[in-house]
């Protein structure tokens, strides 16, 4: 979606399911990568390699992205992203969300997996609206 470069900001909120083994630690990995300045890279990698998200795999992804592995390992082991994850979970609960992915495109709610045309339609409409303002 090169045509959308500079026109879209994607904000990530973490909504790890409680009953999946690696949901939470994967979110921790994303947060620590963010703190080390490589969020986009890790975000992409986690999606690509999912569901291989056990602790050892996550550490190998951190290596792959040249992160500070010692700091990374400490962070996911000590759950240093817990405050962010719990804050996002609380927000999801307030919004009555129970499926992922869930999107809010300029505030418009879209639930579940959709094809890219569905998103493009909304995004282009929103871009048109933005131009009019």
């Amino acid at each position: 979606m090169k045509e959308l470069a500079g026109k879209v900001k994607l904000v990530i909120k973490f909504f790890p399911y409680r009953y999946r083994d690696y949901s939470r630690i994967a979110a921790e990995a994303a947060i620590e990568s963010w703190r080390q300045g490589k969020f986009a890279e890790m975000h992409e990698l986690l999606i690509k390699r999912s569901p291989k998200l056990d602790r050892d795999s996550l550490i190998s992804y951190a290596k792959e992205l040249n992160l500070d592995v010692e700091k990374f390992t400490k962070a996911i082991d000590n759950q240093e992203g817990a405050a962010i994850i719990d804050r996002d979970l609380k927000l999801a609960k307030e919004l009555d969300l129970y499926v992922t992915p869930a999107f809010y495109i300029n505030g418009i709610k879209v639930l579940g997996v959709r094809d890219s045309d569905y998103f493009k339609n909304i995004i282009f409409k929103e871009l048109e609206n933005a131009k009019k303002k």
Binding site: L4, G6, K7, V8, K9, L10, V11, I12, K13, F14, F15, P16, Y17, R20, D21, Y22, S23, A26, A27, A30, I31, W34, F39, A40, H43, L46, I47, S50, P51, L53, I84, D88, L91, A92, L95, L97, T100, P101, A102, F103, Y104, I105, N106, G107, I108, K109, I123, E126, L127, A130
Partner: protein, 51 residues
């Protein structure tokens, strides 16, 4: 009486449901990671579970 209450409830439900598609939510985004340009005209918030 119970029937009336039931209908009231149902119509309220339908009403709020119809409104829902028009609702725009304003969610906080401070201190959350993002990809793309900060002041882009279209802002997407995604709740994600990586597993």
């Amino acid at each position: 009486m119970i029937k009336k209450m039931f209908f009231l409830f149902i119509s309220l439900f339908i009403f709020t449901y119809a409104q829902a598609s028009e609702t725009r939510y304003n969610l906080p985004t401070e201190n959350s990671p993002f990809i793309g340009s900060d002041n882009a005209p279209v802002k997407i918030i995604e709740f994600i579970d990586y597993q």
